[in-house]
Symmetry: C2
Subunit: 418 residues, 2 copies
Amino acid sequence: MPNAFYAQSGGVTAVINATAAGVIETARQYPDAIGTVFAGRNGVLGALEEALYDTRQLSDHEIQALRRSPGAAFGSCRYRLADGPDGERELQRLLDVFAAHDIRYVLYNGGGDSADTCLKIARLAQVRGLPLQAIHLPKTIDNDLPLTDCSPGFGSAAKYVATSVMEVGRDVDAMRRTATRVFVLEVLGRHAGWTAAAAALAASSRDDPPHLLLLPERPLCPERLIEQVHSCEQTYGFCVLVVSEGVRDLDGHLLSASQTQDAFGHPQLGGAGQQIATRIRQRLRLKTHVAVADYLMRSAAHHVSATDQAQAYAVGEAGIRAALAGASNIMISLERLSDQPYAWRTGEAPLSQIANREKRLPDHYISDDGWHITTACRRYLQPLIVGESPPPYANGLPCYVKLRLQRAPCRLAPWPPR
Amino acid sequence: MPNAFYAQSGGVTAVINATAAGVIETARQYPDAIGTVFAGRNGVLGALEEALYDTRQLSDHEIQALRRSPGAAFGSCRYRLADGPDGERELQRLLDVFAAHDIRYVLYNGGGDSADTCLKIARLAQVRGLPLQAIHLPKTIDNDLPLTDCSPGFGSAAKYVATSVMEVGRDVDAMRRTATRVFVLEVLGRHAGWTAAAAALAASSRDDPPHLLLLPERPLCPERLIEQVHSCEQTYGFCVLVVSEGVRDLDGHLLSASQTQDAFGHPQLGGAGQQIATRIRQRLRLKTHVAVADYLMRSAAHHVSATDQAQAYAVGEAGIRAALAGASNIMISLERLSDQPYAWRTGEAPLSQIANREKRLPDHYISDDGWHITTACRRYLQPLIVGESPPPYANGLPCYVKLRLQRAPCRLAPWPPR
């Protein structure tokens, strides 16, 4: 009986474990077609190292609780398969591990980088004529994957940001007379401004916070920024800005001071919000506060979008069904059938058109002045944050599951080879 | 018929409007004893400027919604009455405004600074034999008011911080293999470490995040910090720190870089978390991320502690009842009757012993090594975060009320006098 492999890659989301639950619960519905779902420890590293968790050991109750728990229950990774001969050895090792454990279905849950890994596996299996299918399950709070209407994880991050801005806007409005006049919220978003744009959902009218969005799609002119903040403060008595961590200056340089790099060689960002605040303080002499949402906004499972959680689950479910139908070299996508009432379904998109491409905010989603979103953008974003799905609580805190994970016995020599 | 004056002062909390609702709803129960509750626009400034909102114009439905809405519905302020002759003129103006509007009951809702304002009003009224009673209603997320078991606003901030740390701890744990190893959450807390201490509620055992608390009560030795982070990273593979904005070095200087001052001359803090992260990166070469909760943690009405919300309401209710019973020159306090099961009631404390005093974490609440809280502290904190009281939602976002405020007509010359 063929088995399945599921793994989690890249930055976590508040709902990535809902996809895991969708995979495992759906696989359990086909006991005659799928033996077990092995979960990789730390993504594809788990396959390379033959560190496989046997999910048969997990109770139905644990899987149900998994659906509402943050983090990545099996561990995630930022790891891209090497290029050249090293990469070929890695790919061969993956095939060996999959073969050793009778794995036919590979479901890799991540963003653009993991789509690339998945593509390589699918192609090699195809070339060699192996009974191995690779399917990518999308996940990213950045919402920058192409060929899907949205990415699981984004809706919850968007809800978090919009709610926070709505709340903090009232705070600053109440205090502006004698205290803080300018508030800056820095949000995650490396290359695309989707999460910053979502903050605008907090505003019922143009007068409501957030007053200014600083998007990576629009290079920042410092003079224009100061003018805008000044004008806003004069008009409303305060100004709330939402700053994407990936915002760049007119020369294309990241505003963030940090120039260190992460494991993929991406610049490690942070500090754009503080930089903006410092400029405003220096030029306008206004009391300015900064919050940096950082990982809080991608792990806030206490405040997920029920729509997002349902989509994350559906993507896992659809992954198993597509695998059983013989699909490979695809990503499960989300297709929008209508805006209002919002209707969606899962679909399939060819992996070759996904890996290493980023979907940024299109021009017609950004207002002409560059500081706001358009009605079209709002229409797109609005349904993605709808619905609440709070976790159970005990003693005032969410009850999140800690899985009792058991490794499957190894059948191969250790990796890397000595 | 005597009227009442209610106003909001200092930094807002997620539940300060619940106190407002408690005051207004309770006053409405005594139509034969209290004419109207006037709410000051921006705290005591509203009384000085005769900017009084007539809360009779607000519907019962609006007041009910107020109970669950963040910010300060009538505007808050950071304003301390002047010393010397200017202060005497201000106090006389307050008495004039109160007399002009038949105000007998003054309920001022704030922290230590507003307690001082309240004390001055109460004393002068007493000296002059005026029919004017002043009662302080406590509020501060910092939990640093003396003579009350806790302060309304703290429980919700504590719940926010503990939940966030629980969630982000799972995030970092999942990613530590190839990405972030050290995570720093900076929390509000000027002089007292209560909100940082509350983060420890996220941990079921010593092994769980948060691994290290940096409290203002314990001067920070940079070498010991680096040792601790290193040891934690070696033991658990990652390290989550919660840093109070008010943490100081061995010389007593604030770690935060910012040396600007707020309206009271208090140093305006910010940046302690980033400073800690920079030191860790430089010394240990570990990928480190920083989140700064800032105002998000004091305005998150979507995630209040139901206990805190109930206490905030009760303080408003008790304020009106104490006023009707003839009390003045007091603060409504919260008294703990038992830890488990948790039982509490409101009480009264003399204002003269409250103004300008700060209740820091006592020594027996801090572990000997200085990085953790004790069992006694946990026993104190635990009940304060219990219970959920989510707001209603529409379109994925909380429904918070915007009051339709109407000014009462002025009866005096404008302030300040020309």
